[in-house]
Every structure is written in structure tokens, then in C-alpha cells.
Symmetry: C2
Subunit: 419 residues, 2 copies
């Protein structure tokens, strides 16, 4: 196995930028072939990866990480095959670059084309999951970019092994291995260096918890694609169908409580709550949901505990749920405006006009009428692949597929035109 | 005349955010009508604006501002009419919001729409020109946004008068006047407050010189649409037609030297220079262009003075020109990569393959083959209106029209779908 050379972060970024020029000129065929070579090599060398993963798991056990965290960290042969299949799937997607979005000719004969092109160098800053190392690399290369990977220290051995295998594989392709840079240092200073390399890095994509994302957003001068903190709400309107409301609420809370599109607060119109308080209480009990309620919720839902400011503002990522009671849609929208993270917000109502108003008024990337917030996911919505879920408004919003990793150029062709 | 109430910046931003909800729901008709009322009222009250402008001019004369600066600051009846006509022209443009960019239905029946929506609150931070006060307001309102205006202190009286008139006009429309906020304080602290109001401001757009733009980019946590510093290059290839090269170079340098799309450095292939050095020298002389050259340029162009690092890196915005001599395209691209600001870059050559390579390799928003860099302009390229020229890669690149002031929402409509 090749040993990754110790380099300083700036040198790596400069290498990535140079390599980006080469990747950006490659044909779709070259890139897809490289993705297949990457996939095949990862599968072939799965034992090397699992051995490295064992080191991370051992360290994790010693540190006493909780089960859910260890689950995300643990690799198996099957998971490595999933990584490889993910790369093969990206190879089937359309090349997002080289698309002429629009074209026109001025009266003076100057031809104007607006063409999609790669961003250049993508800096990926992420936490535990080693799958991001593979997924992000596949999406970056397919869209003609270089990538700088800075994973969490808890998965450092797995990530390093995966990148070693990928570098070995790239030697057999037209993509220079310098297009995939791995920051080996677990020092926080290394991450901070990435924050201000505007000359060499075109975009930073943080993936992880709120503190990681805020640290990048608040400290980076390099443009950031903000992803994924989801303090999601479901508003149950007074005209909500009871069965739909309960099904959707339980699905959004319990299907996978730890993910960003799970619901964290339900806002209930007071008349609906009064009519359905017993059924609601028994449903919460049945599914093991702990309720943190405001004053009115405490009165209606036995066993609920008082909600504090943090209950409204933070993600639980567990089977806990905040319950707020309101008089009307306006109060619901106000609550979401105040505490929402612009991720996924739903309304349950049989009145489609009320629903449309909610969809227009609430400021978020994904708005739902009578459906679970759990659909906010590139796979579930049919995007093919996803580099993250953007909760910002500029460039890309919601699940980000390959087009989010491109920008445009205006290409003007003339024969001597002047103004 | 109404007197603008002294408010603190945060209160103003909160008012703008509230008003944005209302503007965002208005129909195209409501918004266009409001633009016409704004236009008519500005024209009617032009004397009030000119009187205020006189105060700015007087202050400027006392401070000894240079002529070009005073020119940009000075208003006349005709210029006020131009502002009004600009607003009427924006009214003729398509509404950029409410467009369904794509729509599909999942197998489970969940309908997905990707719809354009307003950004919300736009913070405009700009220097002397009072026309930005009107232009930016028109574009923001047409795209359903609120705007916070923070103009330069040298135009404070003119800007204040313009906003007073616009507020007066908005009283007669369905747009709440709180949608247009004017920061009256000329204190730098007021500007800095805008930098970190992520909760209330959706995007900051700086327009002005490099120091203003850098200050916003480096200090703002609110997302920024970076505009307009143009250190533009023209590369004259060894296969360049002499007449085209000279025409384009002279146009790009002398048509309006002080604007961002003027050329600042010409990069010349050495063989072409040797063949054409006399003609080039006489052309520079005829047009009063001062040449700052590298070693080889100094040898070929009599009267040229040595170029320093600043000559390559900074905009002259005058009839000065840096001249760099290279052996080939690769060296030209390297120079542009190092010193360019990703604005507008041109190649002059009769070889279309060389041109295509240049257009692909150079990382900039606008690339030209055999045409002047001066075409980088919303008006010249047929965009209808322009809020600035983006030199960044995310969200919007190149001349930014109305669509740059929108984002998207995914609106999902179901009948109880869960995962």
C-alpha cells in the first residue's frame, strides 16, 4: 500500500487546484470509467479497509462512544460493496458540466453561450461516517472537480485506507490522483487553514452536527454550501384529518429519529388538540415518545414535561418531541420563523388553500402538505445522488445533486466586436 | 416631506423581514404598478432630489474629490428621468418568482414542484452613485424582496431624499414602505451590524471598490454576492489578426477606462510582439496609453516603464496598461490564474481550437474570443437589468439580472404519504 505523504494543507490545495484543470477537461467516458475502476478496486481491497476500520472501532470503544455512533462508524464487506455500487450509480448519471443553458447572438454578431462548468476544488469537512469519503469523491470527480477531504478524527484510519485504495485505483485512470486530497492531520488548525484558502478552494461543504456547521459558516471566508441541521416542524391545522396527522407525525418522528429530516416539534391548532387529545396521548405512549409541551400541551397530554427554550430551538434526534399549541396558522408560521432551520416543514390539513398559504409563507427548502418530512432526501425524491441537504438560499437549496457542484461561464465568440 | 425616523439597524432589519412576507405574496401586477408609481413620483419630485444632491456636491467640493468622482455623484433632471425610466423598464421584465422549474410525481403519488421564490431581505452596501439607490430598489421589489440600503457617506443627502420620495410613493401602492429600509447612519459600525444579521438578512450585495468588497467578504457571516472588481486581461496569441487585436485592445482600454470590464493587462505572445512592435508602440502613443512592461516588453516598446507586482495585481481604471510577454498560451493562462479576478478575460486568435482551449482553461465568469471585454454588462448582453457583475462561482456568475435575486423552494403535496 502506498503511504500518504505528509504534506502541508496549502501544498495539497495547490495540487488539487492544478489537478482540477485536468479533471475539468476530461470527457464523460473518462470520468465514468474512472468511477468504475474506483468501485472495483474498493471492492477488491475491502479487507484492507475493514482492517483499518477495526482500529477506529477499537479507539471508539475505548473512548466509550455510544452505540448509534459506533454503528455509523462500523464497516462490513456489504457496506464497502454499497460504496462501490454508489460510485457505479453516479457513473450512470448525466454529466452536469458542458451543458449550454442558454445561447443567443447579439445584433453585432457576438455569440453568447451560458455553459455549466465544474466549480474547481471542493473542500469537504465531515464527521464520523466513512461513506462520505467515497460518496463525495464520486460526485466531485463526476462533476469535473478536485476534492479535499477532511473527515472526523474518529474515522481517520478508515478514511485514510479508503483514500489509499482510491489513489491506487486512480493511477489506472485519466484522473490524476492529486484530484483527491486527504488531510491526514486531525489537528483543528488543519481544518481552519481550509477556511480561508479562497485562492485555492472554491467551496467548502460541511456535513455533520450543528457545531461543525456553525464553525465553518462563522469562520470561513471561502464560500460555504451549508448543509443539514434540521429542526423540522409539523403543523396540524384545525382541518387536519386525524389519521393522516397521526400517521405522518409518527413516521416523521420514529422512522429514523437521528436523521436531519425527522420532526422535532409538532405545532397543534388548539381546537384539533381538544378533540383528539386522548388519541394523541395514547399514540405517543404506544410509540415511546416523550413529550415536552408548552402550557396548553401540558394540560392536554398527561405525562408531558415542560418545554424550555432549548426544546424549541434544538434537534432532539431521539424519540423526544416538543409540542406547541397555537390558535391559528399565523402563530404556527411565527413559531417556525423563529425556531426553524429552513430545512423541512409540513402542514396537515384538508383545506388546500390553507396548505398553499403555509407553503408560500414558511421560509424553508422543503415544504410538505399532508406528507412526512422524511422525504427530504436526494434518493427519496429521485435526485440519483446527494452531496448533502442545503439549508441556505444561495446557489442550491434542499437536496443537492450533481448540478450543485457546478457553476457557469459565459463564453462569447466574435470576430472583432467592440463597444 | 416625511422625515426618516432614527432607528437602530436591527429594528430596521426586522421590519424589512416582516415586509418581505407581504411583498413576496404580491402579484406581478401589484409590483409593476408600484414600480410605475415610484417612477412617476421620482420624476415629479426631481427638484427635491436635486436640492439634496447639491448638499452632497458642496461637501464633495470642500473635500476636494476628483472630477470623475464628482461626475458620478452629480444628479440632473435628466438623470432623475433616467432613474424613473429604469424602473419602468424593470416593470416590463418577467416576474422571476413563481416559476415552476421542474415538477414530478413519485410512485407513491407525492407531487414535487421546484418553484422560484424571493430571497427575502437583500442588504445593498454601495459607494457614491445615487442611481444604485433606485436601481437596486426596483430590482429587489420586482423580485418580491425587501431591501436594506446602505450607501456611501458622500451621497448621503441624495440617497436620503430619494428614499423619502420612494417611501412617499409606496404609501399609494400595495408594497409596504417598510420593504425599503435606508441606513441613515454614516458610521461604519452600522455597516458592520449588517454583516452578521443572518437571522434577518438573506444576502449582502456589496458594490464599489476592492476595499469595500473585501471588507464585506472577509467579515460578513451573511451570505454575500460578490461583485465586480475586474482585473481583466487580453491575450494576443501568435495567430492573432493584427487589426482585430489592436481594435479590441484599444476599445477595451480606452472606451471607459474607469469601469470594471476595461482591460488592465495585455499578455502578448513574443513572436507576435516582435512582428508588430512598431505598430503597437505607435498605437499606444496615439491613444495616450502609458505602458508598464515586463523585461521583454520594455525592450520592444520604447517609453514603457517597468511593471511592479502591483501593476499585475491591481486595476488601473485609467489609461495605463500593463504588458506581459509570454511564450505560449499556457504561460498566459498561468498569469491570469495568478492575477485575474475571475471577471472578464479575452483571447485574440484566428485559431478557433486555441480559442476554445483558452475559454475552457481560464477560470472567469466571462470569456471572450475576438471581442472586447467591455461587453460584460447586463445591458450590452441583453439581460434587461443588472444588480451587479458577480465574480464568484456560487449562485450567480457574471452579470446578475432578476433571477439572481431569487431562490427555490421544493413544494411537496401529498395525501398522507410516509416513508
Amino acid at each position: 500500500m502506498t503511504i500518504l505523504r505528509e504534506m502541508n494543507v496549502k501544498e495539497q490545495a495547490i495540487e488539487a487546484k492544478k489537478a482540477a484543470k485536468i479533471v475539468g477537461l476530461l470527457s464523460r467516458e473518462d470520468k465514468d470509467e474512472a468511477l468504475h475502476v474506483l468501485a472495483d478496486t474498493l471492492e477488491k481491497e475491502y479487507k484492507y479497509i475493514l482492517k483499518a476500520n477495526e482500529l477506529d472501532l477499537e479507539r471508539g470503544r475505548k473512548k466509550g462512544y455510544e452505540d448509534a455512533f459506533m454503528d455509523r462508524l462500523a464497516l462490513t464487506k456489504e457496506r464497502v460493496i454499497e460504496f462501490a455500487d454508489g460510485l457505479r450509480q453516479v457513473a450512470t448519471l448525466d454529466d452536469p458540466t458542458g451543458t449550454i443553458l442558454s445561447e443567443w447572438t447579439l445584433d453585432n454578431g457576438l455569440n453568447v453561450q451560458k455553459v455549466t462548468v465544474p466549480l474547481g476544488v471542493i473542500g469537504m469537512i465531515y464527521e464520523a461516517r466513512p461513506n462520505v469519503t467515497v460518496d463525495a469523491t464520486g460526485l466531485a470527480l463526476k462533476s469535473g472537480n478536485s476534492i479535499i477531504l477532511k473527515g472526523g478524527s474518529s474515522a481517520i484510519s478508515s478514511n485514510k485506507a479508503i483514500v489509499e485504495i482510491m489513489h491506487q485505483a486512480l493511477e489506472k485512470t485519466n484522473i490524476p490522483k492529486e484530484a483527491v486530497q486527504f488531510i491526514e492531520s486531525t489537528d483543528r488548525e488543519a481544518t481552519k487553514q481550509l477556511f480561508t484558502m479562497n485562492e485555492h478552494i472554491d467551496v467548502l461543504i460541511p456535513r455533520g452536527g450543528a457545531s461543525l456547521i456553525n464553525s465553518v459558516v462563522n469562520n470561513a471566508t471561502v464560500p460555504v454550501l451549508e448543509t443539514g441541521v434540521g429542526n423540522c416542524h409539523i403543523y396540524i391545522d384545525h382541518e387536519a384529518d386525524v389519521q393522516k396527522a397521526l400517521n405522518i407525525l409518527i413516521n416523521a418522528k420514529t422512522d429514523r429519529p437521528a436523521v436531519c429530516n425527522a420532526v422535532e416539534t409538532v405545532i397543534i391548532q388548539k381546537d384539533w388538540l381538544e378533540k383528539n387529545e386522548e388519541l394523541l396521548t395514547s399514540t405517543f405512549k404506544k410509540h415511546g415518545i416523550t413529550v415536552h409541551g408548552d402550557e396548553r400541551a401540558l394540560q392536554c397530554i398527561p405525562g408531558s414535561i415542560p418545554a424550555s427554550e432549548e426544546d424549541w430551538a434544538d434537534e432532539y434526534l431521539s424519540l423526544e418531541l416538543a409540542v406547541r399549541v397555537v390558535n391559528n396558522l399565523e402563530e404556527a408560521v411565527e413559531h417556525i420563523d423563529r425556531y426553524g432551520t429552513k430545512h423541512s416543514e409540513a402542514i396537515i390539513t384538508e383545506n388546500s388553500e390553507t396548505a398553499s398559504l403555509f407553503l408560500q409563507l414558511v421560509d424553508a427548502s422543503c415544504l410538505y402538505h399532508n406528507a412526512s418530512t422524511r422525504f427530504t432526501d436526494g434518493g427519496a425524491l429521485g435526485f440519483g445522488a446527494e452531496i448533502g441537504i442545503s439549508t441556505q438560499k444561495l446557489h442550491a437549496r434542499g437536496p443537492m445533486g450533481l448540478p450543485a457542484l457546478t457553476t457557469v461561464k459565459f463564453m462569447m465568440r466574435g470576430n472583432g466586436q467592440v463597444r
